[in-house]
Symmetry: C2
Subunit: 191 residues, 2 copies
Amino acid sequence: MAKAINENTALIEALFDIFRNHGYEGTTISLLSEVTGLQKSSLYHHFPKGKEDMLKAVVGFVSEKIHQHVITPLLDEEVNPEKRFSNLIATITRFYSDGRKNCLLNVLNLGDTKVEINKLQNDDYIAWLNALIQLGKDAGLDEPEAKNWAERFLVIVEGALVIQRLTNDLQTFERHMECEKKLFSQFSGQQ
Amino acid sequence: MAKAINENTALIEALFDIFRNHGYEGTTISLLSEVTGLQKSSLYHHFPKGKEDMLKAVVGFVSEKIHQHVITPLLDEEVNPEKRFSNLIATITRFYSDGRKNCLLNVLNLGDTKVEINKLQNDDYIAWLNALIQLGKDAGLDEPEAKNWAERFLVIVEGALVIQRLTNDLQTFERHMECEKKLFSQFSGQQ
DNA sequence: GTCTATACTAGGATAGAC
DNA sequence: GTCTATCCTAGTATAGAC
């Protein structure tokens, strides 16, 4: 089972890369075929419902990644809060290639269609948000402060990616992450 | 000349609404035809190069709006900084329909194509950023502080729109704008 | 499980009447 | 300046051989 997943990892990663670059509507089967090296019909063999199935697989793949590399480490009480937070920033900086790669969340504009996928993404967002809230509390914030801070952090992550894409200033993302790190040390220091 | 613009305003606004809801690739001529009530060929009469021309017109239209309703008021020294900032927030809250409508910036994923449009958008962003920097300085910030604050504000606007779209929590945008207002009063108060 | 070949549909675009 | 009609291409999807 885990083996089956691994065998397809490279395929899913290729699909992921296209979707995050082109969005859902901008991604075509031909393009996916090109980049995976598989003929269209082979892709349909793996994903009978076509693009939608592929996106679902990608979103599931990303979800696993988030739980494994983001949420679990955020909740690891063995590590002190400040270290957990700087680890988080290192992880997402890698994940977004220093802000050069989009977040699926902001590139997918699915509206009312694809409700299922929306739900998956929202669940992951909530899980991430809750883990951050816990971290905030571990660092000495009270509940409402932690909630504000956590949401604001994710807002800044998404916003910085949008602005960096717009301006092509490759330091934008990093700059805002550094700023968040400083802010975090401030309130975790005065605990 | 100004009259010609006015005559087409309703048309452009309809196009704008579709593009910000569906993105560039997700927008089809048929859809634009439906929503404007014009046949496809009539749209081509107004915009010979099709979708790209339409988007260009929309971006130009938005650009005018930004200069008129955002940038000019931001630089109006007759009004005190705090009032200018709360006016700005009122304006963009209306413009984004309390966060229910997207920003073209974050929904347009044009990559390396449509360089011209990218440039237009980037120019508007820079103009807006500079006006905010000026406001920050008028409120007592020094140059680097004002730069950080201005960029961060725009990051939060874009990020809050992304997160609100994701979660469907209609208060997200408003919450973050309120938070920014408080922050602004803090540093403009201690001037 | 991958391929070639093919069918179908929707989206983009134009001609020409009124 | 808007319409009907039509065309072409690109995108989606399937059949069936290997």
